[in-house]
Every structure is written in C-alpha cells, then in structure tokens.
C-alpha cells in the first residue's frame, strides 16, 4: 500500500479530523487535529493493512508567527512488515499545549515525549513520568522555542547552577598558588 492511499483512507475514516495531506519529495504527511490523535494512532498501529509497528521519531516544531496553532508534534511511523512510511503532524495551540501520549502504543515514545516537553513545554497527557530530560530539573523556559534566545546576557536570571559554579570558582581563587 502506498503512503498516499493510507493517508486517503485515514481521511475517509476521519473526515473531520484530517486537515490536510502534504506530499514533498515523495514523503507523505497527514496533518490532523489533536482530539482524535489516540484513535488514529491506535488504528495505524493495530490495523493489519497498516501495522505501523515502529515509531521512528517524535518531535516538536515551533512555528511562531508563521502558522496559527503555534506548535506541531511530528510523528514518523514505519512498518517493518509492509515497508511503508508515514508522517503524522498534530497541531497544538499555544494556550493549551497538551497532547495525548502514545507511550501505551509505542514504548519508545517515552523519552521522545519527555524531550519534547523539555524543549517546547508541550504536555503529554497520560505520560507515566513527564519530567525534564536533557536540561537540569530546575531550569526555566523551554530552549527550542523560537522566542528563547540562543545567547544572551541574563545576569541575575542566569540558571542557579551556573551562578553557584561561578561563585565557587571565585572563592576557590584565594587558594591559588602564586
């Protein structure tokens, strides 16, 4: 089955929820609303015609000032049995950045979702253990958002762990051998 026909079939089954089918360089993506995400994902996973058994990747994208729901969560699915590939994009708005988790369908989604939460602040409802993963636990802000600066002079707003380190190194200087 070609990815395009899978996308068409999903659109026929969920006409309200599939917003768009995009094709670029022969890779097909379906854009869906977040309400029925779980249902569509379970169907893609369980149905023997699709059987997307392998969640390749899950990540967030921030379209600040470009698209109207600001965030998108992108799922890349692959079926090792049928050898077909599909991209699913879910729109997430800024005021209520929550999506249902898919960890009960693919266990591998666990850390990807934690990273997405860490980097974009998108909450995954029903996730067993939603904590920061790459940034320190007391970090403020979500670094991969487009309004988060790459480099800035934060002064007192600098992360506490870093300030402590600077303070400590200044204190340690008095023991320096001259």
């Amino acid at each position: 089955m070609t990815p395009h026909s899978i996308a068409e079939q999903i659109r026929d089954k969920f006409p309200e929820d599939v917003l768009e089918i995009v094709e670029f360089r022969s890779q097909v993506a379906i854009v869906i609303k977040k309400e029925r995400l779980k249902e569509i994902m379970s169907l893609l996973h369980m149905h023997s015609d699709y059987s997307f058994d392998y969640l390749v990747d899950l990540c967030g994208v921030d379209y600040m000032n470009k698209k109207s729901p600001r965030f998108e969560v992108v799922y890349h699915l692959f079926s090792i049995k049928h050898r077909h590939f599909l991209r699913v994009r879910v729109q997430v708005d800024e005021d209520n950045p929550t999506v249902d988790t898919v960890t009960d369908i693919w266990k591998g989604a666990d850390w990807h979702e934690r990273e997405c939460f860490d980097m974009y602040g998108i909450r995954f409802e029903g996730h067993p253990d939603l904590r920061r993963i790459l940034m320190p636990e007391d970090w403020e802000g979500h670094p991969l958002r487009k309004d988060y600066p790459l480099k800035s002079d934060l002064g007192d707003l600098e992360w506490k762990g870093y300030r402590d380190l600077i303070e400590f190194s200044e204190k340690a200087r008095q023991y320096e051998v001259r």
Binding site: F24, R25, Q27, A29, D53, Y54, L55, V56, D57, C59, V61, D62, K66, V74, H76, I80, R83, F85, R87, W106, K107, G108, D110, W111, H112, E115, M119, I133, L134, M135, P136, P143, L144, Y148, L150
Partner: protein, 395 residues
C-alpha cells in the same frame, strides 16, 4: 525478631563518572541484595544544544557540529547529514563521491565496532581484547589521517560530494588493511568466543524479543540481535549501498551474546563492502555539478580574487539564497543504529528546524527494561551491549 529480618532496598548511584558507563551516563539503581528492582537513567550531562545551534547556522556551517554527535563514528554522522540536505535540495552526488562515502562509512563502522568490542570486553573482564582492538583502531585512524588530515572529527563529506579526492596510495593501504583485517577478527574471536566466563556473562543476559525491541524503537545491531533484519542500508539505500553486495547478519536469541555475534559478523561484511568499493570505484568528479551553493571556492583563489572572496563570504554567512520549502526525514545506518534527520525548511539559508533522531537516546531509554530483574553485574553487560555514546544521546 521480625524487624531484624526485614530488609530494605538499597539505592545505588552509578555514574556519571563511572568507567563502565562509557561517558557521562548516570543510573540510579535500587537493589534488593544483588537483584536490580528499579533502574532510572539520567542523561543530559553532555547536552550542547546542537539542534538549537543548527537553527542559527547555514546548512554548510552546521556540518562540523555533526562530528560531535557520535564522536567515535563522525564520518557516518556527516554522511547522514549530507544525504539529508541533498534529499531536501534534490542534489545527486556523482558516482565516485558515492562510493568514497560508502567506503569511509564502513571504515567508521569497523573502528566503532572494535572500540565497542574492546571496551565491552574490558567491562565484563576480558582485558586482552581491548589491547588488540585498539591496535586495529589506530590503523584506521591513520588511514583517516591520510585521507583528510583529521583523525576523529573529520568533516570530510560535503553536501553534494566529498572534500577531496582519494589518492592511489590511500586506496592501496586500505586494501592492505582489508586483506589483513579478517585474520584479526579471528584473533578477537579466539580470545573470547570459547571463553567460559565470557559466555556465562553474555548468554541469556538482557533478553528482549523481536516484537518488543521494535516497539521500543531499537535499531542497528541491537535490534538485529533479536532477529529483525531492519537495516537502513537495505530498506532505504543511500549512496552506493544499492550497488554493492552485502548481507545483514541477524541473531536469534536477542541476548547480549547474539548482539555481540551480530557486530562481529558486521565487521566482516564491512570489509566486504570496502573491498567492492575500491574495486568498483569509478572515475569522475567528486562534487555534484548542481551544488555550487555548497562548494566553497579554492582557498588560494579566495585570497587573490575578489569574486571568489565575496562568494566565500556570502556562502558562510547567508547560505543558499533559495532553498525549497518543505520538510524531509532522511536516515542512515550509523554503527549504533538509525540516525535520522528531520529538516523543516522555510526557504531561507538556514534550517528552520533540524531534529536529530539518535539511536543511543532510544537505546538508553530502554535500559530499565533490560536491567530490572537482573543482577547488578549484568547492568554493566547491558550498558555495553546497547553500545551507547553519550555525545549522540544528549546532542
């Protein structure tokens, strides 16, 4: 009396500076006697924000960052990135460049696998293999130096080709290596394959079924040890992999030993691929003619010619003026598994979003699944078997 017999679970902190964690991985283990009850991995100690940095760099200048992901197999990462950008821009590299790239990728696979073998065996208690493995790794490093001047962070592939052509001298030395290396693999195997301690510490440890491994998102030899033949080189061929013959070794039991066997067989297959690449290497250009936006003008010209200097400056500060608008996912088979690049382009000279799907990140996330219920000593074997590099895991 009852109170005296009651026991408590002990929390054991392992890492981030533990020699067996291959970098800065921290595990918090809760142990009941010798049995692991709970295992919580903590990562992020090597987080450098590569994805954020890439958004602020041009396509060309983001390339050196890829070396620093999996610093043991930098060549394969670079090739993966170049393939992804080429697919986005619709560039087709010339045949010669394709063969050279596949060749260096397989060299990387050998160097990564023998480093893995050495350290994995060292962790489990077979020290001699480490010394033997590093002898051959040094040989490959010397070959890399001969090829491009760098040993570790090579940045040798370019978008649309490779940086410089290979010399006949290099090809001859590489062929000598290929002739010699299979006997060296046998040497490693005689050291550990019949070793009773090695067998006891690897057989039946960290078992995971094929279905579960796919569900966790395992890739590379870690997945193939469980009997799934998923290999990006066969499923989504890139570069010259559809023009050379090779087999994908697959295990059966899904334990540490099966994954070890898979990697050892992959070493032999890599030698086979390199030999074919040398024999079939076609003549011709090494950079695609339709990739002028990514080809830097020669350095001596830049210093004398005004046009070339402007061209050089614009390329490194602005990037290609016109990029196609769209998104692409492209993946390659690095020694650890599937390294994926998801690039969203908004038409500017910089990637709007560049997502790195690294195999180590996924594999570390499954460590609790492999470790819980086993002995503390087997945690070391499990960390070794997933072949984790934290630079890639934390990005």
């Amino acid at each position: 009396m009852k109170d005296a017999l009651r026991h408590r679970e002990l929390t054991l902190n392992m890492g981030p500076q533990h020699p067996a964690t291959h970098g800065v991985l921290r595990l918090v283990l809760e142990i009941d006697g010798e049995t692991v009850v709970k295992c919580t991995p903590y990562v992020g100690y090597l987080h450098r924000g590569t994805e954020k940095l890439c958004e602020h760099r041009t396509y060309l200048s983001a390339l050196p960052l890829m070396d620093r992901l999996d610093y043991i197999s930098s060549m394969a990462n670079d090739v993966g990135y170049c393939v992804a950008v080429e697919r986005l821009f619709g560039i087709e590299p010339p045949q010669r460049a394709k063969f050279i790239r596949s060749m260096v990728c397989e060299m990387t696979r050998i160097s990564s696998h023998i480093l893995w073998l050495g350290t994995h065996a060292l962790d489990i208690g077979a020290m001699t293999v480490f010394l033997y493995a590093f002898r051959e790794r040094e040989w490959i490093m010397d070959l890399f130096e001969m090829l491009c001047g760098a040993r570790l962070t090579v940045s040798y592939p370019r978008i649309g080709g490779v940086r410089n052509d290979v010399s006949q001298e290099f090809l001859d030395s590489l062929y000598d290596f290929c002739e010699e290396f299979p006997s060296r693999i046998e040497e490693y195997e005689t050291l550990i394959d019949q070793n009773r301690i090695w067998l006891q510490r690897t057989k039946g440890i960290g078992v995971i079924s094929a279905e579960e491994a796919v569900n966790w998102g395992f890739t590379g030899p870690t997945l193939r040890g469980s009997g799934v033949d998923y290999d990006v080189r066969k499923y989504f061929p890139y570069d010259a992999y559809d023009q050379v013959e090779f087999d994908v070794p697959v295990g059966k039991e899904g334990d540490v030993y099966a994954r070890y066997r898979c990697r050892m067989e992959e070493l032999r297959q890599s030698v086979r691929i390199i030999k074919q690449c040398i024999e079939k290497l076609p003549k011709g250009p090494i950079m695609a003619p339709d990739a002028p936006k990514f080809t830097l003008p020669p350095k001596d010209k830049v210093l004398k010619d005004m046009e070339a200097m402007i061209h050089h400056f614009v390329m490194l500060t602005k990037g290609p003026i016109t990029a196609p608008v769209g998104e692409i996912y492209s993946s390659v088979e690095v020694p650890k598994g599937e390294l994926g690049f998801y690039i969203v382009s908004d038409g500017s000279g910089r990637p709007y979003r560049l997502r790195l799907r690294s195999p180590s990140f996924v594999h570390v996330s499954a460590l609790p699944r492999l470790c819980v219920g086993s002995l503390v000593a087997d945690v070391i074997a499990n960390i070794g078997t997933i072949d984790v590099v934290l630079g890639e895991c934390d990005r």
